[in-house]
């Protein structure tokens, strides 16, 4: 709270000049692009927008993206919580490097992630080479997209859950143990409920990032329409093909979804801070 108070002391009396300047900068940078998506999407009227959305390719891309986002959030909720629990409750050699390593995906360019996954799982990749004869080929398939999204969004869940876990004092669990709760019961009835907030935030963040993922997806999916094409890939493909209306319609839906998620997060985090 105190951080927002200007150092100079009382609020400046004439806000007109700095505020105008700020708006002049932000308008082309952030505000206008946000508006542009919706303006272009509805330029042809609502029927044209509906028609663009109704195309089978667009329908598939949106549904596939939502499915992948749900799956990513679900898998990473479990995986991230488990990782956070192990990292915060157990002391073992290599614990620190591991803690740094699992946060690395946020720092790696997503295209690099896609390349690495191809080099590992692809038909000539380290593991893919072995899987090929078995008839299992994750790359250029939905499984590959999921793998890429799990990798890219992994740190978000961890980052939301681990601080909450670290804050729980040791006696909290010990109290449950002495009362008679097993390790699992303690986790289920004592730890997990306190993680609710972190899990919710982490899941929303993961979902939002998965929905917009492009760099890694474009490499591992092969961008196959009606098979592995996610919404961002569909937008890109339609733009390239000159179908701006089709691209815009899906872009508008993605933007709207992101807004909804964002406002959920905003409301939830402010509520928590006030409580």
């Amino acid at each position: 709270m105190s951080a927002t108070v200007p150092i100079a002391g009382p609020r400046a009396v004439r806000p007109l000049v700095p505020v105008t300047l700020l708006l002049a900068v932000l308008l082309p940078l952030i505000l206008m692009p946000l508006a542009a998506v919706f303006v272009f999407a509805f330029r042809g009227g609502l029927p044209a927008f509906g028609k663009a959305l109704a195309s089978p390719d667009a329908q598939f891309a949106l549904r596939f993206s939502l499915l992948i986002a749900f799956a990513t959030a679900a898998v990473n909720a479990i995986l991230g919580t488990f990782t956070a629990y192990v990292l915060s409750r157990y002391r073992f050699p290599g614990e620190r490097p591991l803690g740094i390593l699992v946060n690395l995906p946020v720092a790696i360019p997503t295209v690099v992630v896609g390349t690495s996954l191809l080099l590992l799982w692809g038909p000539i990749g380290l593991l893919g080479k072995l899987l090929e004869p078995l008839g299992f080929q994750p790359m250029f398939a939905p499984a590959g997209v999921l793998l890429a999204h799990l990798f890219v969004t992994f740190p978000y869940m961890l980052g939301a859950v681990k601080p909450v876990l670290d804050e729980i004092e040791a006696t909290y669990e010990e109290a449950a143990y002495t009362i008679g709760a097993s390790r699992w019961q303690t986790f289920r009835w004592v730890i997990l409920p306190t993680l609710r907030g972190g899990l919710f935030t982490g899941a929303l963040l993961t979902f939002a990032h998965s929905l917009g993922e492009f760099g890694a997806t474009v490499l591992v999916s092969g961008n196959l329409r009606l098979r592995t094409q996610t919404a961002p890939l569909y937008i890109f493909a339609q733009f390239e093909a000159g179908n701006v209306a089709g691209a815009n319609a899906v872009a508008a839906v993605l933007a709207a979804l992101s807004f909804v998620i964002f406002f959920f997060l905003l409301r939830y985090t402010t509520n928590r801070r006030e409580a």
């Binding site: 004092e169 143990y177 002495t178 009362i179 008679g180 709760a181």
Partner: protein, 623 residues
């Protein structure tokens, strides 16, 4: 259900936190573990609850060996100092948690929950959350939650620590009532002596991981056996006198020593008297009274039903004060007394007499063994026979140059102590300047002897030789310092170097005491400067020394040598006779000891540096 601990030991990073604690708590008893913070009392509770596994020993709950059982299988209720109330649950859900885990049906849970809410006086608050309760209420929720599943044993870790004084007093009474009603075997841990007295049917006093003594509050207060318990459990004065003819001498006053606390002739005897056992009067007391002397009133403070008074009395010859601690340089006795606050003025000069007193048990000799942790250090090997012969307890201490090396050093010391056969020794690692740290260690827990191996450099961190360190210590530490040299065997022939100019006879007493315990013979040596005939004064001085030895029942003879200076005489004596321990006084400064000075160096320093055998330095006032 009875709680039994059998030689339970817990170590952490080489430090022994709980040291061979044996204890039996009776069924339905309310037992209090009392100790300062860091004494290991909370660790004992965690060992009983199963939250920590012991390194050694056995724990039994009602005859069932639970040493290796996890906390879930022990059937204990635990109340933590911070209560650890589950924040996402209501009070009711918190209390029912143990029952839910055990699969008790909801209707039964509700009945039990209401019962407990009424028991702890929280009726109607079942639907509240953590944030809606006061500290005292949280504590009661924690208690109800720990009792819900009717555990065999209730463990409370400083349950009143986080509460203010007024609520504390009220909750203590509640707890006592509840414990009595339910008849659940309870151990409560606290550092608050008053709390221990009020709650405990019996109290166990813990110091540095050891259970020093156990007893009813009144008994521990009136008849403590150890110095720690005497000072920890309430105010009072402790004086040290000497045993003479089954009485203790405090200057002209002598008090009988009861047969249950046997002391040997000449031994130091510690006399405790509580403030309310001291009587003050303006007029001289009758001759039959145990009069300490006449003193001046220093301060008084009103505390309700009585006034606390502190008086300064002239020092008594041959008497030392242990508690309350004297300010540096104070050569007097400080006596604490309590007088009824009935409005009568306290005379500014009052006669101080004892109405009652208590004599502490003969203490176990405590040795502090300073070891470098290196294989070449002879300290531990030499210490072992001493510890055995004195029937004493040893603490092994090492000094690391920085705090980073402390853990490693502690482990090395522990290993070396075990290898040397000092399995029962406590191990401590400190960091910093050796002389400073050893002085600190001594002030934290008084030792009777400090043993130092003659190595170079001394104790790893220092650049000095051990002899230099011993000399420095002798100036700053009121403990005899043994600089150990040569083979790991007990001295058979002790040479005590004494001189007429010496202010006291601590060296004769300490050397004699050691000789008696070790069964060694003593030679008293006086060196006269060449060309001077020994004066009658020398003869008288040596006679007194022999007399002191006889009191200690030690065989001794006196000898006088003529030499260029003191150290030459001592070295010459060592050449003719195979003495294996030389005893000298502490370094004496100035002109008080003209005979002792040689070439500007103190005799102490020269003896430490030049004698080939072990040397015991006895600083004045240390014995």
């Amino acid at each position: 259900m009875a709680i039994t601990l059998e030689k339970v030991t817990k170590r952490y990073a080489g430090t022994t936190i709980v040291d061979r604690v044996s204890l039996e708590v009776q069924t339905a008893e309310l037992f209090v573990l009392l100790g300062a913070s860091g004494s290991g009392k909370s660790t004992i509770l965690r060992l009983i609850s199963g939250l920590l596994p012991p390194d050694e020993g056995a724990i039994r709950l009602g005859g069932r060996d639970v040493t290796m059982l996890p906390p879930q299988k022990r059937d204990v209720g635990f109340v933590f100092q911070n209560y650890s109330i589950f924040r996402h649950m209501t009070v009711a859900q918190n209390i029912e948690f143990g029952l839910r885990i055990r699969g008790v049906p909801a209707s039964e849970r509700a009945v039990r929950r209401e019962e407990l809410l009424d028991l702890v006086g929280l009726g109607g608050l079942g639907s509240r959350y953590w944030s809606q309760l006061s500290g005292g209420q949280l504590q009661r929720v924690a208690l109800a939650r720990a009792l819900a599943y009717r555990p065999a044993v209730l463990l409370l870790d400083e349950p009143f620590g986080a509460l203010d004084v007024k609520i504390r007093a009220q909750l203590r009474q509640n707890l006592k009532q509840i414990q009595k009603t339910l008849g659940v075997t309870t151990i409560l841990v606290t550092h608050d002596q008053e709390e221990g007295f009020e709650l405990g049917q019996r109290i166990g006093v813990i110091e540095r991981g050891r259970l020093l003594e156990v007893g009813a509050p009144e008994d521990l207060y009136a008849h403590p056996r150890s110095l720690f318990a005497a000072t920890f459990l309430g105010a009072g004065t402790i004086l040290v006198g000497r045993c003479r003819g089954e009485r203790v001498e405090l200057g002209p006053l002598t008090l009988p020593i009861p047969p249950d606390v046997p002391h040997d002739e000449g031994d130091r005897v510690r006399v405790l008297f509580r403030p309310e056992q001291v009587s003050l009067s303006a007029d001289p007391p009758p001759p039959s009274a145990a009069v300490l002397g006449r003193g001046e009133l220093l301060e008084e403070s009103f505390s309700g039903s009585f006034r606390r008074v502190r008086l300064r009395l002239p020092a008594l010859p041959g008497t030392r004060q242990l508690s309350p601690a004297l300010p540096y340089g104070e050569n007097a006795l400080l006596i604490e007394a309590a007088v009824p606050a009935d409005g009568r003025p306290i005379p500014a000069q009052a006669w101080v007499a004892l109405e009652n007193w208590h004599i502490l048990r003969q203490p176990t000799p405590r040795l502090l063994v300073a070891d470098s942790g290196d294989a070449s250090d002879p300290a531990l090997a030499i210490a072992r026979p001493f510890v055995e012969a004195l029937d004493g307890v040893a603490t092994v201490v090492g000094i690391a140059s920085g705090s980073s090396g402390q853990d490693e050093l502690r482990e090395a010391l522990g290993r070396r102590a075990r290898e040397a056969g000092l399995d029962t020794a406590s191990v401590r690692a400190r960091a910093g300047d050796p002389a400073e740290q050893l002085a600190l260690e001594q002030s934290e827990a008084p030792y009777d002897f400090l043993l130092l191996g003659d190595t170079e450099p001394a104790l790893r961190s220092g650049k000095r030789r051990a002899a230099g360190l011993a000399e420095e210590l002798a100036e700053g530490v009121a403990t005899p310092i043994l600089l150990a040299r040569g083979a790991a065997q007990l001295p058979r022939k002790i040479l005590i170097c004494t001189a007429v100019g010496e202010p006291g006879k601590a060296d004769v007493r300490a050397g004699g005491w050691l000789a008696r315990r070790l069964g060694a013979t003593v030679t008293l040596l006086h060196v006269s400067l060449e060309g001077r005939t020994p004066t009658p004064l020398v003869r008288a001085h040596l006679d007194r020394g022999i007399e002191t030895l006889r009191e200690l029942e030690v065989k001794g003879r006196a000898t006088v040598r003529q030499a260029e200076d003191a150290i030459e005489g001592i070295l010459a004596e060592l050449e003719t006779e195979a003495h294996d321990l030389v005893v000298v006084g502490g370094p004496v400064r100035g002109s008080r000891a003209p005979f002792l000075r040689g070439g500007g160096d103190s005799v102490t320093r020269q003896v430490l540096r030049r004698c080939p055998c072990s040397v015991l330095v006895v600083p004045e006032g240390s014995w």
